[in-house]
């Protein structure tokens, strides 16, 4: 007998409180059995909320300064910052000046805020998913620091995917958040050869047939259309006003897909490259990301053990 499974996949939420909460509610919303979160879970920026004396504070979000009067307004502002995927922190003006000078201290602050948020999120997942019997798989991405793996692993309602094969009913899923080299020199980057070795080491241990194998590889395959990002000049400005996308995906990822021919390959990494593509028999999906707008872009996929029964990209 062949069992079917309905998956919801989202990725690249980059610290967005709104997107995480939507992700936790996605299974009942779409009628999914399993939810999978691809990489780049953590936020990209810290937003200082600077004390102006008394109960007055100010902070800047989206290039707009907000003068805050009283605790309620400060808390509201913090919530707005978190919704967009940034980490707020309160600070005195002289401390802020010190932070600007002391990179190590700034890194430590960033690290602590990030881990605290991930821990809080996982506690929410433990509380909300397990009682409903919703299975949840999370795999960090290249923008996520390595030590969040241990935090994810410690959660009871969430299964860590990184660097291993996990069973989803009759299906097996291979995951990694590592990517090929980017101009930003992020935390999980490999040369194409090393990336191939990293993925192949795990993929080689898959026992399931290709039609019951799922790849969850953060970086999309090169030249699939799921890897088209605005080209960047040497000074990190987008080429041609951002109107000139170019393929930046991984050759190694493409190679392992071509060699193993899994029924489904899930990707993220390139927010603008929302879409689906076929590489041989493999359906490759990058649902894209709109975390800054609080929109959870995702993909709902139904597998019947022989093929993709159906799939659709969602915008929730």
């Amino acid at each position: 007998m062949v069992s079917a499974v309905k998956l919801f996949f989202a990725t690249d939420i980059h610290g967005s409180e709104t997107c995480w909460r939507k992700f936790l509610n996605s299974a009942p919303h779409y009628g999914a059995d399993v939810v999978i979160l691809g990489g780049d879970i953590t936020g990209k920026a810290l937003v200082p909320i600077i004390h102006d004396g008394g109960d007055a504070w100010h902070g800047t979000l989206q290039e707009q300064r907000h003068d805050l009067s009283g605790e309620d307004e400060a808390v509201d502002f913090e919530a707005n910052v978190m919704r967009r995927g940034y980490y707020p922190f309160r600070v005195e003006p002289d401390e802020l000046a010190e932070l600007e000078r002391d990179e190590q201290r700034l890194d430590a602050l960033f690290h602590s805020r990030m881990l605290a948020t991930v821990e809080r999120w996982l506690a929410m997942a433990d509380e909300r998913l397990a009682p409903k019997g919703i299975r949840c798989y999370v795999c960090p991405g290249n923008d996520d620091q390595l030590d969040i793996d241990a935090v994810i692993e410690s959660a009871t309602g969430v299964v860590l995917g990184e660097g291993r094969v996990v069973d989803i009913d009759d299906f097996q899923m291979v995951s990694t958040g590592w990517s090929n080299v980017t101009p930003w020199k992020t935390y999980r980057e490999d040369s194409e050869d090393d990336l191939y070795t990293r993925i192949e080491r795990v993929a080689a241990t898959v026992q399931a047939a290709p039609e019951k194998t799922i790849f969850n590889l953060h970086c999309p395959p090169f030249g699939s259309g799921l890897d088209e990002a605005p080209g960047v000049n040497e000074d990190m400005t987008p080429k041609h006003g951002g109107h000139a996308p170019e393929p930046v995906g991984s050759i190694a990822v493409r190679r392992v897909i071509e060699e193993h021919r899994p029924v489904l390959s899930l990707h993220g990494h390139i927010h603008e490259a929302r879409g689906h593509a076929r590489i041989g028999p493999t359906l490759c999906i990058n649902p894209g990301s709109a975390y800054e707008q609080g929109q959870l872009l995702g993909a709902l996929i139904e597998l019947d053990g022989k093929k993709i029964k159906n799939f659709v990209l969602t915008s929730g």
Partner: protein, 549 residues
């Protein structure tokens, strides 16, 4: 909470993370928008010659006033890009705000079906601005493959327009196939080359007088087109006799008649938003402002350049001459020479050296070649977005693994455009069907404006988090205010197009044909919804908001 401008202190600490780029260049986006409201291809290529149809309207005033209204279009689209920066543009915004069915039907007709019909319109511009003057300058009067009567005497219909349509299709296909990166580079070179050509003809006009023009016109009419002597004098005499020699002065503004010109003028300047389907991630308020600067800047720049060009032409030819030449072209009277009054051709008349004439025509032709790809390019993004929503089949979003060309979307543009171009070229009845081509796109923009107007209330959770939420002139969200003004402007144009014979598009057969296109879109959506439902996909659910709590 009070708000003010951004302070100088450190307001954000970023760590190393993918995609953290510096701001994009406004100039690059400006060039794309400037090509979309192409003063040479769309303005001098058609819209401005419509002064012949409403001779008591002030062309300059209509150009300026329409641009003022279209500034609000720039605000609407820059706002929507800031709130929902998603490739797919109108389709995405309409489907997310007004529902998937509405989004598909209006975007499908306005960004997909109707652009098949724009291929021969582009081709017509290619003929009158590039091929026809080129053929005449090289002295082509013979028969064979490049028969002169294909291009010179019957450019609106027949084999000439079909061949030009095929050329346009090839160019557009190549542009889509090679990708945006190569196209952006090509477009930039075309922009600078086209500006050089424009600068040359401005100097030519500025350094010649009306007496010089009369001599040049008579000489060129006789030598290049084989008319008798004194073609200019015969032109003026015929125009005087027909009563088509009087136009409002350069700076005058007869309000009513000038407003009546606007539905013609928007054929050229309604499109600064053409790149909106291509946008991806937007970082913040500064990107909203940059989008405004790029689109509105292109509109203002183009408007100013048009005014300068007309001033220079008026200096060299006399202000009324452009209207008279347009009237002759549109057949209001019979003149010895009734060629399209393209500034490039007219500037070339001042020279007898063929090489100089060809340089002028070829440099100005870059305005066409840099723009021609736009007939397919934006449409492919809409097709992709609909395929991702599973309304269109999976293959519609297929990308060739070797070339990265979007072969599915390209086929959906390319294949129908060939028979449609043939029908346009060889069937007068079908040509009539296509008269409403501009109207359908304007209707799509109107529905997008409606989505923009209601967005702060229908999608408050997205709107309030967007960088534009703080813009509230008169206490009204800027996106709503801009949407109301632009929608009002579009309703005026739509009403005039549908009610006034002068625009030649309130044609019953054309309206029925356009109705068929809308019906086809509805049928596709209904079938798709039924098929997906049977597969277990609820298309109504794919854009529904997931609860946060």
């Amino acid at each position: 909470m009070a708000s003010a401008d951004v302070p100088a202190e450190r307001t954000l600490f970023v760590r190393k993370a993918t995609g953290l780029v510096k701001g994009w260049s406004v100039l690059d986006a400006f060039i794309y928008a400037a090509f979309a409201i192409n003063l040479m291809a769309l303005g001098f290529g058609y819209a401005f010659t419509t002064i012949a149809f409403i001779p008591n309207g002030a062309l300059i005033a209509a150009i300026v006033v329409s641009a003022l209204f279209i500034i609000f279009e720039c605000l609407v689209y820059a706002s929507l890009i800031a709130v929902m920066p998603r490739a797919g543009g109108d389709y995405v915004w309409q489907s997310r705000v007004l529902g998937g069915g509405v989004g598909f039907v209006f975007a499908c007709t306005g960004w997909w079906f109707i652009l098949w019909h724009w291929v021969p319109i582009y081709a017509n511009i290619l003929v009158v601005e590039v091929i026809q003057p080129f053929m005449v300058i090289i002295g082509n009067t013979g028969t064979g493959v490049f028969q002169s009567d294909w291009w010179v005497y019957t450019p609106t219909h027949g084999t000439g327009i079909f061949v030009a349509s095929l050329i346009t299709i090839v160019i557009a296909t190549l542009v889509v196939a090679v990708g945006m990166r190569a196209y952006a580079q090509f477009q930039k070179w075309c922009f600078y080359g086209g500006l050089l050509g424009l600068a040359i003809i401005l100097l030519v006009f500025l350094f010649h007088t009306k007496a010089d023009f009369i001599v040049a016109y008579n000489r060129s009419a006789q030598n290049l087109y084989g008319t008798g002597p004194h073609a200019y004098q015969h032109l003026i005499a015929a125009s005087n006799k027909a009563g088509t020699s009087s136009f409002p002065g350069f700076g005058s503004f007869p309000v009513k008649a000038s407003f009546l010109l606007i539905p013609f003028i928007v054929f050229y300047n309604l499109w600064p938003n053409w790149g909106a389907t291509l946008y991806g991630e937007v970082k913040g308020a500064s990107d909203f402002r940059k989008n405004c600067y790029a689109m509105a800047g292109a509109l203002i720049f183009t408007t100013i350049v048009v005014l300068v060009t007309f001033a220079a032409m008026a200096h060299a030819m006399g202000w009324e001459t452009y209207g008279i030449l347009s009237s002759a072209y549109w057949g209001y009277f019979t003149a010895p020479l009734a060629i399209f009054p393209y500034p490039g051709t007219l500037a070339a008349f001042f020279f007898t050296n063929e090489a100089i004439q060809l340089i002028i025509i070829l440099l100005l032709s870059l305005w066409f070649f840099g723009w021609a790809g736009s007939v397919f390019l934006s449409s492919t993004r809409m097709i992709f977005a609909a395929a991702f929503d599973r309304i269109l089949p999976e293959w519609a979003a297929r990308v060739d693994s070797r070339t990265q060309a979007p072969v599915g979307a390209l086929a959906l543009m390319l294949i129908p455009s060939i028979p449609i171009s043939a029908l346009y070229a060889y069937s007068t009845r079908f040509y009539t069907y296509t008269l409403d081509a501009t109207l359908v796109i304007a209707a799509t923009f109107a529905v997008t404006s409606l989505a923009a107007i209601v967005l702060p209330w229908t999608k408050p959770e997205i709107y309030n988090q967007s960088p534009i939420a703080r813009y509230r002139p008169l206490g009204i969200p800027l996106i709503t205010l801009s949407g109301v003004i632009f929608l009002g402007f579009l309703i005026f144009c739509l009403y005039k197009w549908l009610s006034d014979d002068v625009y030649a598009i309130n044609n019953h057969q054309s309206l029925v044909y356009m109705g068929v296109l809308y019906a086809a879109a509805v049928v596709i959506y209904v079938i798709s919804r039924a098929v997906r439902s049977r597969e277990g996909i609820d298309l109504t659910k794919i854009n529904s908001e997931i609860p946060v709590e």
